[in-house]
């Protein structure tokens, strides 16, 4: 088992005829992801890397029984794409697009939740269940099948941690990049719960960063609900307040959301915090 996606996930790529959509559709397909279709209004009937293109997500769902979608459309159209997917009955929506206005996400998320669907992202690298399915833009070559769950607000920093895990013989059950924006879909709490309930996951790596208080909430949740070992890395100890560090969500505002607070929160509940990304495997191994 894995969480959220596996070999049975039926993926539709929204914006498949765009440069990024087409490129990553081929990458995902090459990895073995079960891509059943793509969408691009007005291009129904076309094929992209042999994947059939539909005008609308509803058409794609009707014809292919797609249950998962990944979005590569430009930021001004991302809200519409997320809502289209939810309305068409997609259960898991992964939005890769960067730079989506926050209130667009607020609105789309509210609608998605009402439809009983799940959102990952936006501004995220997607997720991968190694050896089964990859939905997003993850570099598949660094992942290995295994039993460590990975949750991260970052892209390359995740790869850095995964690379270290894989080097130490610790494969991954599923790795999820939740996205770097202030408002995104699934977050620590929901994913921790899924990993806790996944029999194939035996440990969890959590990669946080400055901004907001989700890490503090995650620490409290781990204390109360998680029995599997968790190790954490927090990026941004040197970040000055009021400055956005790349990710729209990585900002210390009004003196809160600092790395120090987050590290303290995890340490207070007995979750080890790595000083360097490379320490994660040892911290997990010591506790499995």
């Amino acid at each position: 088992m894995s969480i959220l996606i596996d070999k049975k996930s039926r993926l539709v790529v929204q914006g498949i005829t765009g440069r990024d959509g087409g490129f990553h559709a081929s990458k995902m397909k090459a990895y073995g992801t079960n891509i059943v279709g793509g969408t691009s209004p007005g291009k129904a009937g076309a094929l992209v890397d042999n994947i059939p293109v539909f005008n609308t997500v509803r058409d794609a769902v009707r014809e292919t029984e797609a249950d998962t979608s990944v979005i590569f459309v430009p930021a001004p159209f991302a809200k519409d794409a997320m809502m289209e997917a939810a309305d068409a009955g997609i259960r898991l929506i992964v939005c890769i697009t960067e730079g989506v206005p926050t209130l667009d996400v607020v609105e789309a998320y509210s609608y998605i939740r009402r439809k009983g669907a799940r959102l990952i992202g936006p501004n995220c690298p997607g997720l991968i269940s190694p050896g089964r399915s990859m939905v997003g833009i993850m570099p598949t070559m660094i992942f290995r099948e295994g039993s460590t769950g990975v949750i991260s607000r970052s892209g390359t920093l995740t790869y850095e941690v995964v690379y270290n895990l894989t080097e130490h013989g610790m494969g991954q059950s599923t790795a999820v990049g939740v996205g770097g924006d202030p408002v995104v879909g699934l977050y620590y709490k929901e994913l921790l719960e899924m990993f806790e309930n996944d029999p194939e996951t035996d440990s969890i790596a959590l990669i946080g960063e400055i901004g907001g208080d989700a890490e503090e909430r995650a620490a409290a949740y781990i204390r109360d609900h998680i029995t599997k070992p968790v190790a954490v890395f927090i990026a941004g100890q040197q970040a000055p307040p009021g400055k956005q560090m790349g990710h729209a969500g990585a900002i210390i505002s009004s003196g809160s959301g600092t790395a120090a607070e987050k590290i303290a929160a995890f340490e207070a509940v007995g979750v080890p915090v790595a000083r360097e990304p490379s320490q994660i495997p040892a911290l997990l191994k010591g506790r499995r």
């Binding site: 990458k27 607020v106 570099p139 920093l157 850095e160 790349g246 009004s254 790395a259 490379s278």
Partner: protein, 377 residues
């Protein structure tokens, strides 16, 4: 993006929100003219700067006659508040205040919604209130599909007022402020204080707004109000090239792909005893042009003694990254030592290509950071 109080008040007025009469001035003479036009005895003189705490800094003063006004205006214009030089002041009618309240809309990450925040502790630093007396702050999570219906606006207003007439006045203000918040893609719309005057009118005598940078493309009028500092200009120019750049002041320049890894890199530098000069995320691909631009940016910082390049080769493989770096450095002449750490897909091939070059090549982040710090000594 931040705007000034007087600009926020203009937007407020366009939405029918009650604000005090005021006008913005750039000189003492302008201030005197504004005073005459307001035609009231008492006015307030307020520095217009993109930072808080101007009151404590002496940037807000009451004046009761022209002499006092001239003195305050002259003192505040040109004043330095937390690094910002005051070039504009707002001259406003001094309102006869009965009580002060706090109102704001902000985006709440946890509920993934806009929230309305209210407090009877107006005019104070709201973060201070949140710390010391959180029960005095009322929060309403807004469902974006319905916004603020009358009942919710009333419910909120009852947290501040008992008299139904005041509740109705306040409710309308909350509804208009929400409309403004949503329609302008704000990330903050704050009135602190919202005041009840002795005449029984509720009005905003301060106004603070910040906007979502990602949404400015659809708000050209608001975007036109942008007044970046020198540092922000540098960051924005970097952004226009596809980078995220933040100046930090140390001596080790960093160039990293990905925001999280870039933060981790600067943390590691500190951990190993060095000081990062900057945060620099060059994003996904590593084409030579981008690397050249990024290096120019780094080298324009005269404090930089060493450059640390930390690249994780993901979709773009390490051998491609290495050839990009080599090509870029054929065009850049610099005496500054460069440490390169390259990991990920095809890392062996990538590192092999960098053998025999003047670069200091490292395998792990720890090794790379150690080298970079050593080279600053």
């Amino acid at each position: 993006m931040k705007i000034h109080e007087y600009q926020a008040k203009e937007i407020f007025a366009n939405y029918g929100l009650p604000v005090d009469k005021s006008s913005v001035c750039r000189t003492v003479d302008d201030a005197v003219k504004a005073y005459e036009q307001l035609d009231v005895q008492k006015v307030i003189v307020k520095a217009q700067v993109h930072t808080g705490g101007r009151g404590k800094a002496g940037g807000v003063k009451l004046a009761s006659d022209e002499i006092e006004l001239r003195r305050h205006a002259a003192a505040i214009l040109g004043m330095d508040i937390k690094g910002f030089t005051v070039d504009r002041i707002l001259i406003g009618e001094a309102v006869d205040i009965d009580k002060e309240y706090y109102v704001s809309y902000v985006i709440d990450r946890s509920s993934k919604s806009t929230i309305l925040m209210l407090s009877k502790e107006g005019g104070m630093d709201i973060e201070e209130v949140a710390r010391t007396a959180p029960e005095k702050i009322h929060k309403f999570v807004i469902d974006p599909s319905i916004g603020i219906p009358d009942y919710l606006a009333r419910e909120a207003a009852f947290k501040l007022f008992n008299d139904i007439k005041l509740v109705r006045q306040a409710a309308v203000i909350f509804q208009k402020l929400y409309k403004l918040f949503v329609e302008s893609d704000a990330s903050l719309a704050e009135i602190n204080p919202l005041v009840l005057t002795r005449e029984g009118r509720i009005m905003a005598i301060d106004a603070k707004m910040t906007f979502d940078d990602n949404a400015l493309y659809r708000h050209t009028k608001i975007a036109a109000l942008n007044e970046p500092t020198e540092e922000e200009k540098k960051e924005q120019s970097a952004k226009s090239k596809g980078f995220s750049y933040v100046h930090l002041g140390g001596e080790i320049g960093c160039m990293v792909n990905g925001a999280g890894l870039a933060m981790a890199t600067m943390d590691m530098i500190k951990l190993y005893g060095g000081n990062p000069a900057n945060f620099l995320d060059i994003g996904g691909s590593s084409n030579p042009t981008k690397v050249i631009e990024a290096m120019k940016l780094l080298l324009s910082d005269k404090n930089v003694k060493v450059v640390l390049i930390n690249i994780f080769g993901g979709i773009t493989r390490c051998d491609d990254v290495a050839s990009g770096l080599l090509e870029a450095f054929r065009q850049i002449k610099t005496e500054i030592p460069i440490v390169i750490r390259l990991t990920g897909t095809n890392e062996k091939e990538g590192r092999a290509m960098l053998q025999g070059t003047p670069f200091h090549v490292a395998g792990t982040m720890g090794e790379a950071t150690e080298k970079a710090v050593a080279l600053t000594r």
